[in-house]
Symmetry: D2
Subunit: 302 residues, 4 copies
């Protein structure tokens, strides 16, 4: 097991990693000023890391230039207050390597790489893909498993093999929603592999199972509640954590089921931080759903 | 919501419910003497309830007379030290009603009913099935969801509707292994529905999520470890609970993946409590697997 | 490959195998007089074999005595006009062996055996189960794969191994609805394994793929249409077969999706052959669905 | 239902649509000379349409310029001998519209559009996506359902609604491998919707079910066998079609299971038409698999 975290003095990473939306102007281009506001907003909520250009950030729908603009702006706006983990995923290995190099050049503290696929990839193809990326950069890689969006599912065995054998693959984000994957990662690595949970409705149990952190867009909308949950977990008070989690669970479930870009953007608009709508073919949240979201948020704060 | 637990002064039920195997003699008939020993063994491990004739007990493979013999012997051997929840499930409603009446007559404190199916059942068919059973008895019914063995999956919505609207359906055992079902039961019932976890590798997280108890055959083999885990949970020390759980997880996973009757019987043989082999077409644990089990158990106690 | 069909001069079996419901009297007991009528009705429709006590026949919901009564009556009513294939499946190997012996004693030409399960069975457990049955009887066994009702799925590899290596396992009924299983059976056996299709909406394609026959309850309701389809297939006129199949497909799909016992019994009532209702927990067809069925049948005959 | 096929005098399309690989030079760029050879090769095999830039053509892994080069070269090489259907799919609606316009400008006779997704799309999002494309062009659109690669599954109901209500969506390619989808398309459209099969091991049954054609890369390697199968189908000789199909099925299954770009390129190399290797992260066919492919092809031609 490699030492993790020489690059940034806030590593090894633990806690809540806040995921950004990519705000768009009315004409459809990224609104970098609003993005800076959102970075500040997330840090004020107490997140322990900032992650642009993930699933929430509509990374897959941006041009390469837009992607770089968002990465650059996020790094600058964060100003090393917390680590920045930049999502960098493309269908070809060559494009992914290029994006990861760019992220490093722009000052990212780590990259998060999802093996998005058209043709299903074999374990060996995935391994070599991550190896090529690792060889090209000098910052940590978070291997991100999200079969629902990537179209390919990485087993705990493969994930552990990559962390063990590929220099810069140092941590895992598990978004499959299957707690047994986390158990398997623990047992395979004898507890040495730092894994993060990326499934909102599993936050409580992932912490119970030993997750190093929670990768989530929820702090955009309910930062205080998320911070309280983390603090209860940190103080090993799981009865309190359960109460806090179950109270916020309707919001966590809703923003996931409605699609994170659409629901988080709708919630930000409700909070006076309008960030535009998702890019087509994605639709914005419908009016009924927006009312439901307003109702759920209002319930939570009352 | 009905009051739960007038029947037996140890209700409302909480804690570890220990599931019995049905021991067989060499010639294949139930060994009721050995069964009495196993009841005592489980109670000595500190279980808070005893459950004969579940999946572990090969209930589905017994004749009606054998089933009644096992139920009677278990109730007598338990002697009201803890509640006895008798598994009672048949393909027809008429047979299930008969079995539940018999269980009540024999002194069971509750029955656990699984909607085993040949043709898939609709929600309405399942509801009426449980209603007919409830109308016939005066003891609590634990609605048992285990799609892998029953062939039918009961949604949290259906389970909550049955607990709310059917007199004697007062608790749920969830064995689907999906923690989100437990969250849904909590949210639907506003926290009022007592649910039990029946999936061994989910024990830690089910407690985190608020399960009233753990239905498990593990105390047959690792009673002390299971009791320690429960005590850590009861004292809200989830860091300790996690360590204890992850240490026993290899055993919990192994006895599930190998088939509970075969693996638990193999483990009991290793412990000097031979209980015969499962009934055909089920095979006993193979030699290699038996060695693995011995190794896992020995690791745990060292 | 063994020679198939010494037992009955109508073997090797080909064509349409008609599946019987088990008619019940108002008080719930099997109506053996009506059963005799239904046997005659099916044979008049031109079926090439008669199959009582399958899924359609609610075999799983009958007592052992009822099961034997239905088997005996069917064999007697058929009077060797066509072969009789008796469904004989139980959870334990011992019970299944007993049933198959009884079927043979009662004059069945073959038995159809489904590996119904509670605990999932391994391939080896299934193989030994069929082997024990084969050792006990001297009539052919149709290995029946229907994962939706049995709870266990037999791969083409396992099915072929059983036909090759177990004396009396001589044919396969595939009801998984996956045409690729039929291709695999063909390729594995070099075209020697006779397979029958048990999925109504796949009838056309199974014939295209070389199925020896179609196991179906449809002739109870639309005997002429089924016979016409078979005749078109036999004369290698697949354009005509397609037209006939697509015309009857709405009925075939409806009787499957509504549950065969409920829908076929509702249809028989519409035809003046009332056969009672399915046994609880199964419900009879609702009024709206019964009207839909009447409409579909009327469309077809017009 | 709109009239289909004013654009090209070979419409309405029927028969075998041959899918091209995108050949790469050693240095990794598209080899447009080899591509021209492959177009001629396919047309010599008797295909009724040519399709570049599908799944086989690694369309998802090309830059926009490479994609346009391949489209242009294919149209020119085909020279209106048969229709050209250009694959044009991107994550955003805007990019897909641009690609479809380009395809039309380059002389494509139709476009094939797959709703590739990152976030799952709702039916409404998909409908609007196709509507926007249709509004931008004047050539037919083949709606392509392939959930395994697209990450989103279009129901027969949605497909039929699009063909009915969107001007230029005039045909469907179904690659889910589920024959019941084709039946549903037939029943919903009263037989008016022209559907094509895109699942090689389903070719025989799709023709039985009334498919207008077969979209396949197989003619690259076994053009004569594919043509013979089509001819048997056209002459309504399904016994002959079955024999031909089952003989070529091992090849059809192998090239699908090994990944079409890798296996077809390996086969072309065996035939003296080397076309390079797939683009990373996709790996070329391994040596053992290449030997198996050689063996299967040699068996077929002997």
């Amino acid at each position: 097991m490699k030492y993790i975290g020489l690059h940034f003095n806030l590593f090894p990473l633990r806690g809540v990693i806040g995921y950004l939306v990519t705000p768009f102007r009315v004409e459809g281009t990224p609104d970098l000023g609003r993005l800076t506001d959102l970075v500040n907003h997330l840090i004020e909520q107490g997140v322990h890391g900032i992650a642009p250009l993930g699933s929430t950030g509509e990374s897959a729908y941006l041009s390469r230039k837009e992607w770089a603009d968002v990465a650059r702006t996020t790094v600058e706006a964060t100003g090393q207050r917390v680590p920045v983990i930049v999502g960098a995923s493309a269908l070809t290995t060559a494009d992914t390597v290029d994006m990861c190099r760019t992220a490093e050049d722009l000052g990212a503290d780590a990259v998060m790489v999802l093996p998005i696929s058209y043709w299903k990839l074999t374990d060996d193809e995935i391994f070599q893909h991550y190896h090529a990326i690792s060889d090209a950069i000098d910052i940590p890689i978070m291997a991100y498993n999200n079969p629902a969006t990537a179209g390919v599912d990485m087993s705990p065995e493969l994930l552990w093999r990559m962390v063990r054998d590929i220099e810069n693959v140092t941590m895992v984000k598990e978004s499959s929603g299957d707690i047994q994957r986390m158990h398997a990662l623990h047992l395979l690595s004898n507890g040495k592999l730092p894994f993060f949970n990326g499934c909102n409705p599993l936050a409580l149990e992932a912490f119970a199972a030993g997750a190093h952190g929670w990768c989530t867009a929820a702090p955009n909308l309910i930062g205080k509640e998320v911070a309280n949950l983390w603090n209860a977990v940190e103080s090993n008070d799981f009865r309190k954590a359960r109460d806090l989690f179950l109270k916020q669970l309707p919001v966590l479930s809703f923003i996931l089921s409605g699609g994170l870009p659409a629901t988080v953007k709708a919630g930000l608009a409700l909070m006076g931080k309008p960030s535009g709508v998702p890019r087509l073919p994605l639709h914005p949240l419908g009016e009924d759903d927006a009312r439901t979201l307003a109702h759920l948020l209002s319930n939570l704060s009352s």
